[in-house]
Structure formats: structure tokens, C-alpha cells
């Protein structure tokens, strides 16, 4: 299925190979159309195809493997993750990631206890700061895992966020 | 085993058996008219609660379930649910009457 690598121009040759391989795959039409962009022709730019396969995975390792082609992920304190200890509401959990690393090209956020592990993944082009904030949904108490791709290497950090229902129930 | 133990056990079995039978019997014997009487009592109690503006959601749920069970001709279940609804309604009426006086104690003074 679509194994699209989110990498810097440095690995463009590999990118082009993937793109060509991808073109051959039947599902291209659906993915291309679904994303409403004409993504793949511009091989020079990072590919724009939504990593459908990665978003379909149900555990951390499979999601990362699908997203980054079997990365070796090293926990690192260079990646800082700002999440609440107890989520005020599992539907809107504020998450901020900052990476004190050079040449960051992608930041991915995973929630292992969610039905689908990969929550979001952002491409960081050259010149964009390696820091993002967003709001995620968490089905229940779980780690929030941030994985940063920099110079083709992978660094991660994780923190647990407690999630429980509010109020005294119906 | 000592005779007394056997006797006790036997008595217990009989007792349990009897109540189960009675329960089952009452389920079959509850005729439509008995259900309707219980249902009427429950709705009257609920109207009292409504007048006191203090109805409970489980009462409404039990009344609804009772009506549904009755519609399905399952008068045994319908009867139990109607009785449950009446008990809940009575409790909510009681709560309203009590709170009519007790609320003053909670007021920040």
C-alpha cells in the first residue's frame, strides 16, 4: 500500500522511487482525488499524499513503520512535550511539541490507546520552526507520544495524560 | 453429615423453591387488570411528583418500560416495573416534602 516517506530533499532519490512505485498502485486515484490536491507529480516538493496506511495502524510500532519506513526511534530529552496531567476533556486535549534539534523535517503525534494510534503528522519544511501546538482527542487515559524526524534520524518523548468522563453521569 | 445440618439445608432448599415458584406464579397470574391498577397507582404518584415539580428520570423510564412490557402482553414484568415506578414516584414526592423545609439549613448565612 502507500508507503510514502516524509523526508527532506536529501533523500529525494528515494522519494522519487517511492512516488513511481506509488503511481503504479491502484489506490492512487482514490487517495489523489480524496485529498483534493494534485499531489504527486511535483516530486521536487515533499509528497502531499495523506499517509492513509499509517493512519490505519492500531499500534505505535506499526504506525511509525508505515509512516517513516521502519525508523529507529531514540527517546531524547531534546524533544519536549507539553500536555496536561489530567485532561479537562478527552475531546479537546491541548498538545504542544518543541524539538531542540537541527533540520527537523517532520513531527508525528501518536496516542497508543486510541482506536487508531497515529493522531497527526506535520511536515516541517526548511525554515519552519520545529514546534507545533494542536488539540487532540483521546479515547481514554494514554501516553501521548511525539516522534521527531531530524536529519533522517528519529527522536521521541512520551507523557501520560489521564482522561476520564466528567460530571456524575446520566 | 449431622441430621440437623441436613434438615436445615432441606428447609433452605424448600424455602428458596417456594419463593421462586411464588415469584413465577405472580408473574403469570398478573393479569392485565392487575397491571392496570398498579400502573394507575404509579401514574397518580408521578402526577403528585409533577405537581410538586420534582419528578425523577428513573420514574419516567420505569413507567415507559412498564407500558412497553404491557403492550407486549408481558404483564408480569409490566407489573413489577409499574410497582417500581410507583415506589420511585413516592420517593420523589417524599423528597420534595422534606426539602420544602430542609433546604433552609443549607443556605449560606
Amino acid at each position: 500500500m502507500s508507503r510514502v516517506s516524509i523526508v527532506t530533499p536529501a533523500a529525494l532519490a528515494l522519494e522519487r522511487r517511492l512516488v513511481l512505485q506509488f503511481l503504479g498502485v491502484g489506490s492512487l486515484a482514490a487517495t489523489g482525488l480524496a485529498s483534493g490536491f494534485v499531489p504527486l507529480a511535483r516530486a521536487a516538493e515533499q509528497s502531499l499524499a495523506w499517509p492513509k496506511n499509517a493512519f490505519a495502524q492500531k499500534n505505535e510500532a506499526a504506525a511509525l513503520a508505515a509512516l517513516f519506513e521502519k525508523p529507529i526511534v531514540v527517546p531524547s530529552d531534546k524533544v519536549s512535550l507539553d500536555v496536561p496531567e489530567i485532561a479537562e476533556n478527552g475531546a479537546v486535549v491541548p498538545v504542544s511539541v518543541t524539538a531542540a534539534l537541527p533540520n527537523v523535517t517532520a513531527i508525528a503525534l501518536l496516542i497508543p490507546e486510541n482506536p487508531f494510534t497515529l493522531a497527526a503528522c506535520c511536515q516541517i519544511p526548511e525554515g519552519t520552526e520545529p514546534a507545533i501546538s494542536c488539540r487532540l482527542k483521546m479515547a481514554k487515559t494514554s501516553d501521548v507520544v511525539a516522534v521527531v524526524q531530524a536529519d533522517g534520524k528519529y527522536y521521541s518523548t512520551r507523557k501520560q495524560v489521564k482522561v476520564t468522563l466528567g460530571g456524575c453521569g446520566g | 453429615m449431622k441430621p440437623e445440618k441436613i434438615m436445615v439445608r432441606l428447609a433452605l432448599v424448600l424455602l428458596v423453591g417456594a419463593t421462586a415458584l411464588a415469584g413465577a406464579a405472580s408473574a403469570q397470574a398478573a393479569t392485565q387488570s392487575e397491571f392496570e391498577a398498579a400502573y394507575r397507582a404509579a401514574t397518580e404518584a408521578e402526577q403528585k411528583a409533577s405537581a410538586l415539580r420534582n419528578q425523577w428520570t428513573p420514574t419516567e423510564a420505569a413507567l415507559e418500560a412498564a407500558a412497553k412490557a404491557a403492550a407486549a402482553k408481558d404483564y408480569g414484568t409490566a407489573m413489577d416495573l409499574a410497582r417500581r415506578a410507583e415506589a420511585l414516584a413516592e420517593a420523589s414526592v417524599e423528597q420534595a416534602k422534606e426539602q420544602d423545609k430542609l433546604w433552609q439549613n443549607a443556605v449560606l448565612k
Binding site: P84, I86, A87, E88, P94, T164, G166, G167 | T57, K109
Partner: protein
């Protein structure tokens, strides 16, 4: 015989006393009900319970009394989810009715910067009028259909009108009118009265357990609890008015809720708003 007469005499005297007690008018409603004293005691309780919380910060409910919750709130407030409703509300507020009039023609000061005075006691109709009721009455006077309560356009218009009052302290008036005092007292009773199968009152959570955790929630203190309405609750994923909150609270304690803008809800809002006089309006707000 003498004994019998004596007992009859004593019994007659007792009846007489009883009769007198009934005949004499009970202390008139005003003396017994002292809203100003209630307000002082109410505010004093919360200022002592949360000494580090400034008066206006009580408008921020759980975020005024829990650091971790406040941090999440501050992040969400950078771009609050009610932004869309607020913008819709402004457009709706300014869109003329079919007869060319707009809400501005119904409200004092064209409806701008007045939210802090609602609800008020209407001496003509002898009832508590909330902002939502006034909005729908304005629509009906101009030949428009009333808006559904609790959500949607009503919540959006509330959001805009509240935003024009931000920073203005609640200034709820209690006219010297026995009907106003009666409405106030009914609201007060509703607030302290236990209800539902769970047998809780508003006070059980928002007075006795204010600042404590109820599963995922931190219970907001009752002081200033309406100052940030209407609120966008993550739980609802949309805006909600005071009615929506009262109804959802009643459901939670398994009490059958009333219709929105029911007299008792309006009286409750009147009591709660009057208790919060002095707390600045901070609506629209976001909540868990």
C-alpha cells in the same frame, strides 16, 4: 365536673392562641427575605474558601481554582472554539428583521454593553426576564418566530451581547416589590433544594464541593458561575446557554428537567446572578 370545665377552658385557650397565630399576618415577605444579607454571606463564603482568587476570576469557574485546568484553558483561549459562534452572533444581531428593525431597537443602549443587567424583574409583567426571553420577545414584537433556546442562533446572539459587556460587573437589581422578592426566594430555594434520585442540590456541588474534582471535572464555585455564559463546552462540542446548563445539571442528578425559560429556571438565574453582583462579565467562555 369542675375538672372537665377546667380542661375545656385550657383547651379553648390553646385554640384561641392557635387561631391568633394564624390570623396575625406572618412577618411580611420583605423582612424575612434579606437578599443583601444573603449576598454578603454568599460572597464571604467563597472569598474565604478561595482567598487567592480575585473577585473577577470567579467568572472563570474551574480555571480559577485549579492550576492544571487553568493552563489548558489558557492554551485553548489563544484561539477559542467559540470564535465562530461569536462572529455568527454579531451578524445575526445586526441582521434586520423582515420589518426592517433589528435587536438594537428592542434593547436599551441598542443592546450593547447591557448583558450585566440581565436577568431583571419586570414590574409590568411581574416576572423575571432573562436575556434569552427578551431576545425572543423582541423577535415576536417584530413579527419574527422565536428562536429555539439553549443552542444555535440564540447562543450565538448571547455570545455577541455578552462580549459587548466584558469587564462590566454584574449589576442585578432587586426592586422593592414583593413579587421580585418572591421570585428571588424561589430561585434561592431551587439552588439549595436537593432533587433527583441522586438527591443533590446545586449547592451540593457548587458550594460544598466547589473546587473539588467530580471524575474529570473540577466543580466551579457558584460565585460568578454565570458570568462567562454562554459557554462552548468541549463536552457538547458547541455553544450552550444558561438553560442548557441547568437542564443538563438536572439530568445528571436524575431529576426531570423543565422546559427552557421555565419560571423556576429564570428565578434560579435571577438568584445566582444577584449573588454574583460585582463579578465582571467574561462571556462567551469555554469550559471542559
Amino acid at each position: 365536673m369542675k375538672v372537665a370545665i377546667a380542661t375545656i377552658g385550657r383547651r379553648a385557650a390553646a385554640c384561641l392562641v392557635l387561631l391568633l397565630a394564624l390570623v396575625l399576618p406572618p412577618a411580611s415577605a420583605e423582612q424575612r427575605i434579606d437578599p443583601a444579607a444573603d449576598q454578603r454571606a454568599f460572597q464571604a463564603y467563597f472569598r474565604q474558601a478561595f482567598p487567592s482568587v480575585a473577585l473577577n476570576d470567579f467568572a472563570n469557574g474551574p480555571y480559577a481554582v485549579d492550576k492544571d485546568m487553568r493552563k489548558q484553558w489558557e492554551e485553548i483561549m489563544q484561539f477559542p472554539p467559540y470564535d465562530f459562534a461569536l462572529e455568527d452572533g454579531k451578524k445575526l444581531f445586526e441582521t434586520p428583521f423582515k420589518n426592517g428593525k433589528t435587536y438594537a431597537d428592542c434593547f436599551p443602549q441598542k443592546g450593547i454593553g447591557i448583558r450585566q443587567n440581565y436577568p431583571y424583574f419586570d414590574r409590568q409583567t411581574g416576572e423575571v426576564v432573562t436575556l434569552d426571553l427578551a431576545i425572543n420577545r423582541c423577535r415576536e414584537q417584530n413579527g419574527e418566530t422565536p428562536l429555539p433556546y439553549q443552542v444555535g442562533d440564540m447562543a450565538a446572539i448571547d455570545a455577541y451581547m455578552a462580549s459587548t459587556s466584558r469587564g462590566k460587573p454584574f449589576a442585578i437589581a432587586l426592586p422593592a416589590d414583593p413579587r421580585a422578592f418572591a421570585a428571588y426566594e424561589k430561585g434561592k430555594k431551587f439552588f439549595y433544594e436537593r432533587r433527583g434520585q441522586l438527591n443533590f442540590s446545586c449547592a451540593s456541588c457548587h458550594v460544598q464541593a466547589a473546587g473539588k474534582r467530580l471524575r474529570g471535572d473540577i466543580l466551579a464555585p457558584a460565585l460568578g458561575i454565570l458570568a462567562s455564559f454562554p459557554i462552548y463546552r468541549s463536552d457538547w462540542g458547541s455553544m450552550g446557554t444558561v438553560d442548557r446548563r441547568f437542564i443538563s445539571c438536572n439530568d445528571q442528578v436524575r431529576s426531570v428537567a423543565f422546559k427552557p425559560e421555565d419560571e423556576l429556571y429564570r428565578d434560579l438565574e435571577y438568584f445566582l446572578s444577584y449573588m454574583s453582583n460585582g463579578v465582571a462579565i467574561a462571556g462567551p467562555g469555554t469550559r471542559p
